[in-house]
């Protein structure tokens, strides 16, 4: 073989090697990403499932990993690998992963993301998974469904009761937490006018995280049995409950009965200002009880149901936010992924999980373990059992944008740029575009 021929042979061999490597990598990649979701329903196969969520950082260290390890003991062929990130960064991460087809097998979901993920076709139909596993879903407290099929199951629910600072209320001459809108308004104003310098209430209207719209404005309407929707469409104009709630909050803001700077406050500001004794009342997640008791061990506070419209005697609505769960449509192992979800929703595991998360179970038969827990949890569980869990933003399209539009128009209304009815008309028009 001549030198030129040898060189040519070496070059060809090198190129063939490179081509083979590239082809192998491409095959491996396509093999990882584009298989049929139902291609591996053999539950005896050893698999590793990825599970993205923000839960682990919010639970005691290692608690969720322990639950995953316990599951592995009962299902030796299935290993669950946790991918944990803070809530704030997980939303953009999840949407981007869904777009690129790299969503983990099991996905922690918030009610405000589930709609775009469903539209992307990124979520597996859980109704199909339940049918395949012959699972009886009657124990599930709630499910988020589109066109009759479930795509998200709330695993743990967090309620938003009214927190009142006992000392600040007593100083203003208030003996018991308010139960109606008029009592609440009077109490907030009394506290703001008392000597201590505290304000009656804190309402975050900042749009960085716009959930003030649901937690601190519309929740008043829901607590009194009201709704912002009619037949699945926005129903804000001419809605007495929503108008009443908006007017009540607006009255409190304009009469300086709330903490100043509401337009730039966030949900976290509620807790810090409540701990610091700057506000007498707040509507906040029960999950923050631990933060409050750690931040101010001597602070005496009461947890009660959110006040309702004067004269309302029906079942009270109680705002809830959930840790939801779903399965990626691209997963190779939907049956195994469902097995893990079923484990999380089982009576004992769900009790354990909700206790660790300071929330309430997504399984109706589960009960949180209050042994050694803060007494406020037991009080709130009593209220929760008598109330109807509600959050009308769950599953709505572009929920964050709906809330941002609501808050922006509300800020205009408070600034005197438009009346409440004009505000609600404008919000309704903007919401309809999103629906």
């Amino acid at each position: 073989m001549g030198k030129e021929a040898q060189r040519s042979f070496k070059r060809s061999r090198w190129m063939l090697g490179a081509a083979a490597t590239v082809s192998a990598a491409a095959l491996a990649l396509t093999g990882c990403s584009s298989g049929s979701p139902s291609s591996s329903n053999n539950t005896n196969q050893k698999v590793t499932l990825t599970f993205s969520q923000w839960w682990a950082p919010e639970m005691p260290s290692g608690a969720l990993q322990k639950i995953a390890d316990d599951f592995h003991k009962g299902h030796p062929n299935i290993t669950v690998k946790l991918i944990s990130a803070p809530f704030a960064s997980l939303q953009t991460q999840t949407i981007s992963q869904a777009a690129s087809g790299t969503l983990p097998d099991i996905v922690g979901l918030d009610g405000s993301w589930v709609n775009p993920l469903y539209k992307q076709g990124a979520l597996y139909n859980l109704t199909d998974a339940m049918k395949a596993a012959k699972y009886d879903d009657s124990d599930l407290a709630s499910q988020v469904a589109f066109k009759g099929s479930t795509y998200m199951i709330p695993v743990v629910n967090f309620v938003y009761p009214l927190f009142t600072n006992d000392a600040i209320l007593a100083k203003a001459g208030i003996t018991t937490p308010p139960t109606t809108w008029s009592q609440f308004t009077d109490d907030a104003k009394k506290i703001s006018q008392s000597d201590g310098g505290a304000k009656g209430w804190v309402v975050p209207l900042g749009t960085t995280n716009p959930n003030g719209a649901q937690n601190d404005i519309l929740s008043w309407a829901w607590a009194s049995g009201g709704s912002m929707l009619k037949n699945g469409q926005p129903n804000l104009t001419g809605n007495a409950d929503v108008t009443g709630a908006v007017n009540m909050v607006k009255d409190l803001v304009t009469s300086n009965a709330v903490l100043p700077g509401a337009n730039s406050l966030q949900e976290t500001d509620k807790v810090t200002n409540f701990i610091n004794g700057r506000v007498g009342m707040m509507v906040d997640s029960l999950a923050h009880v631990t933060t409050i008791t750690k931040g101010a061990p001597d602070l005496k506070f009461t947890v009660s149901a959110q006040p309702v419209k004067d004269g309302y005697s029906g079942t009270k609505g109680m705002l809830t936010a959930s840790w939801g769960i779903g399965i990626s449509a691209k997963t190779q192992h939907p049956a195994q992924a469902w097995q893990f979800i079923q484990y999380l929703m089982s009576k004992d595991t769900n009790s354990k999980l909700s206790t660790l998360a300071n929330g309430f179970p997504g399984n109706k038969t589960s009960k949180p373990d209050f042994t050694g827990a803060d007494p406020h949890f037991q009080a709130a569980f009593g209220i929760y059992q008598k109330s109807k869990p509600v959050n009308e933003f769950t599953g709505l399209p572009a929920a964050d944008q709906l809330m941002t539009s609501f808050l922006t128009e509300f800020q205009k209304s408070v600034a005197g740029q438009e009346s409440t009815s004009t505000m609600l008309q404008n919000v309704q028009a903007q919401w309809k575009k999103q629906f």
Partner: protein
């Protein structure tokens, strides 16, 4: 037939023109391409491909959340350009950027002159240098948290202004429509001036002292020296930095998002927050891509100026 090794070895005379390459005989024609391949792949993968994808997204009715997007041509551009919120964001971006760049420059020049002055002793000069550079060390999120606390109605700034009798009542600087843009601009100025200061300080140290001596002989005072010697010497640095700052400030997101989120009533909405909301609040990824392409075009305009200026500078 067998051969035996020669008793003597002939030593080749080295070429006078250039040393021979050890692998010269085996050089492959694609070798240069192989060498630049990692860079080309990185640039293509991290810059060219994403930019092309974003441009392509802007031409469809909606992508990512829509499984069957339809080509709509320039319709998204017309929608964005007809959106009053976009023009509000453009206006706020221009005010925020121009004010930031101009004041960065003024403060940067002032502090650099002070730190370069022989009137200040070496030790305090080092201490001031360390203090003045502090804002640049903090990340945007830390700066946002810090200033939210400072500007809070019950924060230090309101306390001082009330104690001095300047304000009767505490002002929620970030929550009031009339003051929010001013507040975020001040925060951005505070966090960005050290970059100007340090670069200009380096420039000042390179100005030959002969020029100052000659100007003094000609009877120039301090102010005349500043305008006739210092500023002309710093002009290339100032120009380059102003253009870079213009690009960076136009794209500022974290600071505004973490302090006001574009509110209240869109008074601090800038192009970056407007685009982010389209993408991750509304899930309108095509409109967000369109807005991003428009920002890219504006940035390209500034970048071309920057490159031309750099080319000119390299000629001298």
């Amino acid at each position: 037939m067998t051969t035996s090794p020669p008793d003597t070895v002939m030593i080749a005379r080295p070429s006078r023109r250039r040393p021979s390459h050890p692998h010269r005989g085996r050089r492959r024609p694609f070798e240069p391409y192989l060498l630049i391949a990692p860079t080309v792949l990185l640039v293509a993968g991290l810059m060219v491909v994403p930019v092309i994808i974003v441009i392509a997204y802007s031409l469809f009715d909606n992508v990512v959340t829509n499984q069957n997007p339809q080509f709509v041509g320039l319709a998204n551009y017309l929608t964005i350009l007809a959106d009053p919120n976009f023009w509000n964001a453009v206006g706020n971006t221009v005010i925020f950027t121009v004010a930031s760049v101009v004041i960065h420059m003024i403060i940067g020049v002032g502090f650099a002159l002070m730190l370069n002055s022989k009137l200040v002793h070496k030790v305090p000069r080092v201490i001031f240098r360390a203090i003045y550079i502090l804002p640049w060390i903090f990340t945007a999120s830390v700066v946002a948290v810090l200033w939210r606390l400072l500007l809070d109605p019950s924060g230090v700034i309101n306390y001082l202004l009330r104690a001095l009798g300047i304000l009767q009542e505490a002002v929620p600087w970030l929550g009031t429509p009339a003051t929010a843009l001013l507040a975020v601009t001040v925060i951005n100025i505070w966090s960005g001036y050290p970059f100007f200061m340090i670069s200009l300080l380096a420039g000042l140290q390179g100005v030959p002292s002969d020029l100052y001596e000659a100007s003094r002989v000609d009877g120039a005072g301090l102010i005349r020296q500043f305008f006739s010697v210092t500023l002309p010497a710093l002009r290339p640095i100032l120009f380059s930095m102003a253009l870079l700052d213009l690009l960076w400030t136009t794209q500022q997101f974290t600071l505004i998002w973490a302090t006001t989120g574009g509110g209240p009533i869109n008074h601090t909405e800038v192009l970056s927050t407007y685009t982010y909301k389209l993408a991750f609040n509304s899930y309108q990824f095509s409109l967000a891509s369109t807005s991003a392409v428009l920002i890219l075009l504006a940035s390209l305009f500034v970048a071309i100026f920057y490159v031309r200026q750099q080319k000119k500078a390299s000629l001298f």
